[in-house]
Symmetry: C2
Subunit: 181 residues, 2 copies
């Protein structure tokens, strides 16, 4: 049921999706739909949790915890791209949430906490002299997040050459993507 609901939320927008829409998409009656799920908000929360759990799990991995700050940062970016690719509908849902309800505000706060971890890792890399001292950690973290998250706008599974995408994106944010010859 969750994949169907998340697809509907992404197509129609969460607020504009009714329980009738969800039941219709699932191909069952509204009353039998209510036997499966307690309501729209529970489905939203489950969808958001799936994306957030995968993203936060990256931060617990050994390569995200040990080693030079810049290497950890690059590892996290690479894995973040992988999670976006693997969990595209769930991350799409997460990134479109605006904070209109308690569940949405909770998800926005978790997203911000993730981004804050990235920003503090950039700051650590700058402090350690691993990154250029004129780096603004806050701005770098925002642009990183914007670049990586923009994948939801154009990435579609199954295209050829996408296995290299995570590493290529790490290279592009590292070296620039309007790079003079």
């Amino acid at each position: 049921m969750l994949p169907i609901a998340v697809a509907e939320f992404n197509t129609r927008g969460y607020d504009a999706t009714s329980m009738e829409d969800l039941a219709r998409a699932a191909g069952i009656t509204k009353s039998s739909f209510y036997n499966h799920v307690s309501g729209k908000e529970g489905l939203l929360r489950a969808g958001l949790e799936r994306a957030l759990d995968r993203l936060f799990a990256i931060l617990e991995e050994r390569q995200a915890q040990e080693g030079a700050a810049l290497d950890r940062l690059r590892y996290i970016i690479e894995q973040q791209v992988r999670v976006l690719m693997d969990e595209l509908p769930y991350v799409t849902l997460l990134l479109r949430v605006r904070g209109n309800t308690d569940v949405e505000r909770w998800a926005v706060a978790r997203r911000r906490a993730f981004d804050a971890t990235i920003a503090s890792l950039v700051a650590e890399a700058v402090d350690n002299g691993e990154m250029s001292s004129d780096t603004d950690p806050w701005l770098s973290a925002r642009l990183l997040s914007g670049t990586v998250n923009s994948l939801i706008e154009w990435y579609r599974p199954g295209r050829s050459g996408t296995e290299q995408l995570p590493k290529r994106i790490v290279a592009m944010v590292s070296d620039g993507f309007v790079r003079p010859a």
Copy 2:
């Protein structure tokens, strides 16, 4: 009326905003609201046009038309950031449009045309040897657009230091934003 409607669309989502919501936000009755505007879709179109007209106007400027491809590209990126900052609610509306109606599909097509111009400019810079030959113009253009457009998530007018933002972002996409010391 347009700024009020666009703010409502951005807060609630276009589909979830009713004419009653718009009239309430404008502080007038629904019937007198109908005397001012023909409908929700006209307001959506006007809001989207405002953003698109500003973006496409950049491409007509002399610095976007003359000179080396890489310089033109950088000029366009800088001006694109300026338009986002100046027209934040309108560009936000444009970037959240999903293509559920004719007006939305028209806006999505115009956005794609703008991005295609950027991609062909990247390709031209690569062909001319101005940019590294291992650049993938399509991917570079997508990431550029993602980075620049992510401003709508965090840029808020009036913060100090924002005058330098357009030039700083051009520098960051050029040199990388996870740049080793």
